[in-house]
């Protein structure tokens, strides 16, 4: 160890030097606009602390990767203790930074040990049986929990709002999963179809008085035809070009919505969108003439929660339909063709699959579900504007799919809870949310490119698995 120490120190020092160079201007000198020009808030002390942490962090990680358990464990503990100790630091962020560095080192130290332990458990007979049963029951348990959730004692307005939001992203994630996960087409403009669905419902309901349930299929059809229209010319392109072009389309649709004031009311958006009705009953304290409220219909006292619970069940139903549809279509020829196309396009062509048509169906089906989700979004928000449909939104949905593991349905749920639920729940994290998204995408690609849930059964097996020779 003593012999390698200088090399390790040099490596850590270089890392710290790079970090210092990265942070010197952007972090060290914070510009502040106070009316008559810009002024500096000097944050050089913050930077120095961060660089020191990076130095020790790198050192600890190197120790850990070389199997020097005790030095790295000690370093991690010290960093963690410094982070949680009441030592005065310039910002709470730095406290977190130090703590996270400590935790990371400790995790890295125990990782080899934990990894072998998990692998041993997983490969034992009981572990295998448990895994099979777990995979079978986990979805069912989750489903029951989701159905029962509105009646749980903790389901107040805030929780329900969050649940509706998460489910919207779950549905969008499942929809995009068809395009990205199954067909392997990287769509960076998915939010465009979401926007088409939302504006379809907003315009048809406010201009022509159509109800939510009448517009829902129409919105899906509109979005799907947009998918066909946009997809047709571009689906011959290579993967990365396709990604950029879909992003271009997404931005074009947003810019058109922003500037075509006659159609979309421009940046001011469309307000007063009616919510969904329950067999003609509205969710409000008093019904408009000729209608009855849900409370009157059911003979129960009015509560503002009813609307939220109803919305919750609608989006749950829509999401489950998306999931069910995906699971079924995967077993159909077209679904198999999608997955085959993702693996090898040339081979597919040789086998007589028309790649353009096959991709087009995936694109249109994915767009259709985004359209459903969009009209639900408009009905829930009662106000939409182009702001809600920026590229960032597409990126969030994509990161949910990527984090969950492209093609994994349950992974999307976990990722949506993780990426949407946690930052909403801990409001302080809000500012760091997008950083975490970006970081997660980079790290997942580097360490677990198949997503958090790396395990995925192939849809088709050429040879059935036999039990032993």
């Amino acid at each position: 160890m003593a012999g390698r120490l200088p090399a390790l120190l040099k490596d850590a020092a270089l890392t710290a030097l790079v970090a210092a160079a990265l942070g010197l201007f952007i972090v060290g000198f914070k510009t502040r606009d106070i009316g008559q020009g810009l002024f500096f808030d000097y944050q050089l002390v913050d930077l120095a602390i961060a660089v020191a942490v990076i130095f020790f962090g790198r050192l600890g990680l190197q120790f850990a990767s070389m199997g020097l358990k005790w030095p790295s464990f000690a370093l991690g503990t010290v960093l963690g203790a410094v982070g949680v100790s009441p030592i005065q630091m310039p910002s709470t962020f730095l406290h977190w930074f130090v703590v996270i560095a400590g935790v990371l080192i400790i995790l890295r130290t125990i990782w080899p040990w934990a990894n072998t332990a998990i692998a041993t458990v997983r490969h034992s007979e009981r572990g295998k049986a448990f895994g099979r049963r777990g995979a079978k029951w986990f979805g069912a348990v989750l489903l029951v929990a989701a159905v029962a959730m509105p009646f749980a004692p903790f389901a107040d307005q805030k929780t329900m709002d969050l649940a509706v939001l998460i489910l919207t992203y779950v549905m969008l994630g499942w929809g995009l999963n068809i395009v990205v996960g199954l067909a392997g087409l990287l769509d960076l403009g998915y939010v465009a179809f979401y926007a088409v669905g939302a504006y379809a419902y907003a315009l048809l309901s406010t201009q022509y008085g159509l109800g939510f349930w009448a517009v829902l299929p129409l919105a899906g059809m509109f979005a799907a035809s947009f998918g066909l229209l946009l997809g047709f010319p571009v689906l011959r392109l290579r993967g990365d070009y396709l990604a950029i072009v879909t992003m271009g389309f997404g931005e074009i649709i947003r810019l058109v919505l922003l500037n075509w004031v006659d159609l979309s009311n421009g940046p001011a958006g469309i307000g007063g969108i009616p919510g969904p009705t329950f067999f003609g009953a509205v969710f409000a304290e008093t019904a408009p003439t000729g209608r009855q409220t849900f409370a009157e219909m059911m003979n129960i006292p009015f509560s503002s929660n009813q609307r939220l619970i109803y919305l919750y069940y609608i989006i749950l139903l829509l999401a489950l339909i998306t999931n069910f549809f995906t699971q079924r279509i995967r077993r159909l020829p077209v679904g198999r063709a999608w997955e085959a196309l993702r693996e090898d396009e040339t081979a597919c062509k040789a086998l007589g699959i028309n790649p353009t048509n096959t991709k087009l169906t995936a694109f249109a089906v994915g767009a259709m579900f985004a359209g459903f989700a969009g009209s639900f979004f408009a009905a829930k928000q009662r106000f939409i504007s182009p702001e809600s449909f920026s590229f960032i939104e597409s990126a969030i949905i994509l990161s949910i799919v990527v984090l969950g593991g492209m093609g994994s349905q349950i992974g999307v749920v976990l990722a949506a809870v993780l990426l949407i639920g946690l930052p909403e729940w801990f409001r302080d994290l809000g500012a760091y949310r997008m950083i975490v998204f970006g970081l997660a995408m980079v790290l997942i690609m580097a360490f677990r490119p198949r997503g958090l849930i790396a395990h995925r059964e192939p849809s088709v097996r050429l040879h059935p698995v036999r039990a032993g020779p």
Binding site: L22, T31, L237, D240, G248, N259
Partner: protein
């Protein structure tokens, strides 16, 4: 005629900036075949570093504009290059040999990460910059309209042309450029012949980032305002320029940048400025559909 000439001058200035960013896209694409989605963010960081650099210069009492510009230019190039190097090292290098879309997804993540890092560190509001170079020169007057070219525009075009000339020389004549072209053609063969591929790729990112920093500085001086979001649009426009000129081709990137500048300025000048970004996106889509090799690019042969 006067209006036209004025628009032409503005378009060339803008095109120079796009061209500088486009070189970064085209070089990276040429060598490792990926779209460096985070390149627009590198440009934005370059703009921020130069903004802060000028403020520090003012604080240190450097009042001579040429000295300040030169100092800030070199600083911004050096420090932004570190960003380029780090991005390649952390986000792309571990993914070589991963599945096809992995680097692009990682690049999108990197782009989101950098954008929000700057937003967090510097605040979300646009930063007005004090102008460093003022004044200009009236070329001629016609129809009661002065056609002016500002000193700043001259500086931008001169610096761009000088950099591009130097850069073309670097690629064409130096050992470094030779290694780079070798890696572009056949990475495995180049490494067998003793070219350090990792180092060459790193240097490609470093050079691209340095040029993006120059573009960022020009952009900051030209528009007088920067925020954390400028990288997105500028990045896409420069990427469009790279694609239009033929991705992988250096002269193509410069030509594409110029064309995009022309299209954007004349569209805004003669039609409506609301749809100028739509025009650029539409060109990107149209070029990719009808002529994916661009104007000067070589057709790509897909090997199975």
């Amino acid at each position: 005629m006067a209006y036209f000439s004025q628009q032409l001058i503005n378009a060339i200035t803008l095109g120079a900036i796009y061209g500088l960013i486009a070189i970064g896209y085209t070089m990276v694409y040429g060598i490792i075949g990926m779209i460096n989605f985070a390149h627009g963010e590198v440009f934005m960081i370059g703009a921020f570093i130069s903004l802060i650099g000028f403020m520090i210069c003012a604080g240190l009492g450097i009042s001579s504009a040429p000295v300040a510009i030169l100092l800030v230019l070199l600083t911004a190039m050096a420090f932004t290059a570190v960003y380029g190097w780090t991005i390649e090292r952390t986000a792309y290098r571990p993914l070589r040999g991963s599945f096809k879309l992995a680097p692009l997804i990682s690049a999108i993540g990197m782009s989101i990460l950098l954008q929000n890092y700057v937003q967090l560190a510097q605040g979300a509001r646009p930063k007005p910059a004090a102008s460093v170079v003022q004044g200009g020169y009236t070329l001629f007057s016609a129809d009661g309209f002065d056609v002016r070219v500002t000193w700043l525009q001259i500086i931008i075009v001169v610096v761009t042309v000088a950099l591009m000339a130097g850069f073309s020389w670097l690629i064409a004549k130096t050992p470094l450029g030779r290694q780079q072209r070798a890696c572009e053609q056949d990475m495995k063969m180049a490494s067998l012949l003793g070219v350090d591929v990792d180092r060459t790729i790193s240097l490609t990112f470093v050079m691209g980032a340095a040029l993006a920093a120059v573009a960022g500085m020009m952009f900051m001086m030209y528009y007088g305002v920067v925020d954390f979001f400028i990288g997105f649009l500028a990045g896409i426009k420069a990427f469009t320029a790279a694609v239009l000129g033929g991705i992988g081709s250096l002269p193509g990137a410069m030509l594409g940048g110029l064309l995009i500048g022309l299209i954007e300025v004349f569209w805004a000048g003669y039609f409506t400025s609301e749809y100028k970004d739509v025009a650029v996106f539409a060109i990107l889509v149209l070029v990719l559909i009808f002529r994916p090799t661009g104007l000067l690019g070589k057709p790509e042969i897909e090997k199975v």
